[in-house]
Symmetry: C2
Subunit: 532 residues, 2 copies
Amino acid sequence: MSSARLKHYGWGREGEGMTTDERQFVLGRYRARFATDTFDTMAVPRLEDLALRTPRVTPPASLAAFCTSERYDRLAHAHGKSYPDYVRAMLGDYDCAPDVVAYPRNEAEISAVMDWAGGVSASLTPFGGGSSVCGGVEPRVDGIRYKAAITLDLRNLSKVVEVDLTSRAALIEGGTYGPALENQLKPHGLSLRHFPQSFEYSTLGGWIATRSGGHFASLYTHIDDFVESLRVVTPRGVVETRRLPGSGAGPSPDRLFIGSEGTLGVISRAWMRLQPRPKFRSGASVRFPSFFDAARAVRAVAQAGLYPSNCRILDPQEAFNTGVADGSVAIMVLGFESGDHAPDARMARALECCADHRGTPEQADASDAHREGAAGIWRNAFIRMPYAREFLTPAGLINDTFETAITWDRFESFHDSVKAATERAILEATGVSGEVTCRFTHIYPDGPAPYFSFHALGRHGALLEQWQAIKNAAGDALIAAGGTITHHHAVGRDHRPWYDRQRPALFAAALRAAKRELDPQGMLNPGVLIDP
Amino acid sequence: MSSARLKHYGWGREGEGMTTDERQFVLGRYRARFATDTFDTMAVPRLEDLALRTPRVTPPASLAAFCTSERYDRLAHAHGKSYPDYVRAMLGDYDCAPDVVAYPRNEAEISAVMDWAGGVSASLTPFGGGSSVCGGVEPRVDGIRYKAAITLDLRNLSKVVEVDLTSRAALIEGGTYGPALENQLKPHGLSLRHFPQSFEYSTLGGWIATRSGGHFASLYTHIDDFVESLRVVTPRGVVETRRLPGSGAGPSPDRLFIGSEGTLGVISRAWMRLQPRPKFRSGASVRFPSFFDAARAVRAVAQAGLYPSNCRILDPQEAFNTGVADGSVAIMVLGFESGDHAPDARMARALECCADHRGTPEQADASDAHREGAAGIWRNAFIRMPYAREFLTPAGLINDTFETAITWDRFESFHDSVKAATERAILEATGVSGEVTCRFTHIYPDGPAPYFSFHALGRHGALLEQWQAIKNAAGDALIAAGGTITHHHAVGRDHRPWYDRQRPALFAAALRAAKRELDPQGMLNPGVLIDP
């Protein structure tokens, strides 16, 4: 991992970003899409030029060693990585910067910060890598109920504490970033194999708190199933669940905290189920005449019980935008892997399923095909894409994604209605036709997880309103058509209007009651997921 | 399904039971074990001779059509199927018989009974098939906080309401018994493939409420993963979760109710993920010189990612007791199945894993091997075994089982300490050496679910105390050694002392708070899982 500090604006660390070629490729697509050579481009304010309020609280001497109100720290913890976050940061709006950032080194220091926050009526925002795309990490404090905002950055809890080779599990601290986690597991021949797009700039605790979606397209789609046990620090004390391969003793305690988005406590460590490093791989790219042909093939593969590690499909426009194909065909990126045996029979059967739905493989024999061809190009685009927003936003371009899940019986009409509603909203909000594309990130026997991207030509001065109008239309459409407001990006604050409709009211009441027990003052991440 | 009514004492329906041969086989094992030809055998009281208190409440006229205080109904809902249940019933102790049994036909009638129960301060016990082995279905009412006991038998909610062939899912009512459920799915070519030992006398709602363990030895071990969405009637209203193949929107609402054991609400219907009927099968029985050799082979199979549908191992004594082998070898019953493709490659690889750990297959080629040989004998014994207790208990024999889960790193010492503690307790409680055997029911990459059976020669007049002393020693040992008090039998009331130690205190507080929201009067199944 680079030792450079994280950017206060943009993806990753200072000095990182797209190459000139990558940048030109992405901008070229936008120039073609909107038939223009130039974009009205705004300057992003420099760190030293940003206005910042005087801190409303000062940590007591006992906490001073790991707390700071330095300018950089406060600014770098003000926003997540959502589209509105980029716009607000570009506009110099750092109103939600925390007053204090704490970097606790152990559970006792987490508890001490909670005690202090309670005493000064501050909100407390748990912070992993800060890659939330739904308003999950920025403190929004009213100054009335919450007098100040403290952010708890877990980066110092970054160790793999213990590895159990026999059970293939490891005890890992919650603030461990993806690369550091894998680097510590590698000497043991093991891997978590959880690679969300944010992998480099997100943490184990963040993944668990947000039900992150990972590497595996099927079977182990979310981090949830890899959690063997948890330790969670709450304002009332520590919750530690028992390390068990399976249990039927009451409702799962782990499942209450998985997806709790920092509202119930701070995940300080977890025993995680691990995978062997793959020894056998089989990969292929398959072309389909249409996205729905590809989707039907996915359904066949998912229902055949083949468990591909990768089974992503891209619609023709998405395939074109990422440089994978020419825009005339849909693409499936298919992969199997195993640490134990060659998955060739499963790949062969999956390709039969594809052929039944008019799929033609590009290549299917090279064992390292996952790095090559359409699959390789797409994989690279997937990892590099988050770097685009820091120059697209200043160019007045609106690009965002939203993801959901739906059962197969409703998928095709669901897709069409969500796509149409979003396209219509783009035209209405911006006056210019935009583009909405779709791919699948994860698949299930009973339905896919469709992932939509949209592109609009916005106007400086109106970007937030334009974005919100499009987001509202998309959210309304997918909730009306039976989907979930998020499959793996989490709820945060931005998805609350739809989550509140999707979630049964009595479940919300139960969750609020549980929160009152664990966080009686309601200090933890107020506004995220539930109101305290 | 037979139209005979369920027994008030014993397993299954009136007129059913073991054949004379089966009975002699089972009793023969006990005669040999305790070196005796006869057992001191007590008569079980007849239905008409049992004393029963006058009902403490009478349903209002609006509920009379589906409520009853008939003698048979009250007696048949007094007990579950635990060992102490059999002893109490044999002793004529029906003190916990409900005053009224309601057979609601729809959700409105469930709500109406809840309203009435609230008004008369009665407890309300949801009742599926009544096969609880841990004190989950008998009303225990103090007469002070709870003035009376009402049991809600869900058997009239027995329909498969809708089948979605595209997504392979069905909407099924909570009171549907196993055979009725499969019979309704069969014309569609689909199956839930959830076959707990209680399959014939348990219901979908009961399986979900208790996190039942089913047919699949790996991957889909519990019913949990088959639940797509739920409808739950609570005293505060109906909770309906959204039908989704996967979601990351906050903590899973379904997971709060899965395993809630009737304390939060009544599961009226659920969308369940289904399986195709298997077209391909591969089965084998494998002999091992020792149980730990077999366990190491299971670990290899589980960690290879082969997903056997069956991978049960029996220790030598368990194999002997069920007539599967001669007592000198441990047995693995191994099976693969698929509705899509031949699982031969997976079976071949699993047999290699077995060979690495001194396993020798008995047979591995016949596609219907799962019905034959050791596997077939064991399967039949497994299904018939519950019929034994109704004659073993009157013979003063104590036979019971307990099941747990543990990670692989601790398994061997865990097994030895739990087995030794249980054997010691049998000797201390009864003065006679007994027998403790072990098998695996379900397996995970990070550990097995060991299932212990024990056999003791008890003494009439002391059976409950003797059983409790053995149960206490077993529970203490497995909790001390890091296991779970239940892997799939549920908590009920009988497992409370250990569940309360296993479950984090703050999770219990959160769960009680959730219950207060959904069941403010605490009417639902008081004493099960949590105190209201």
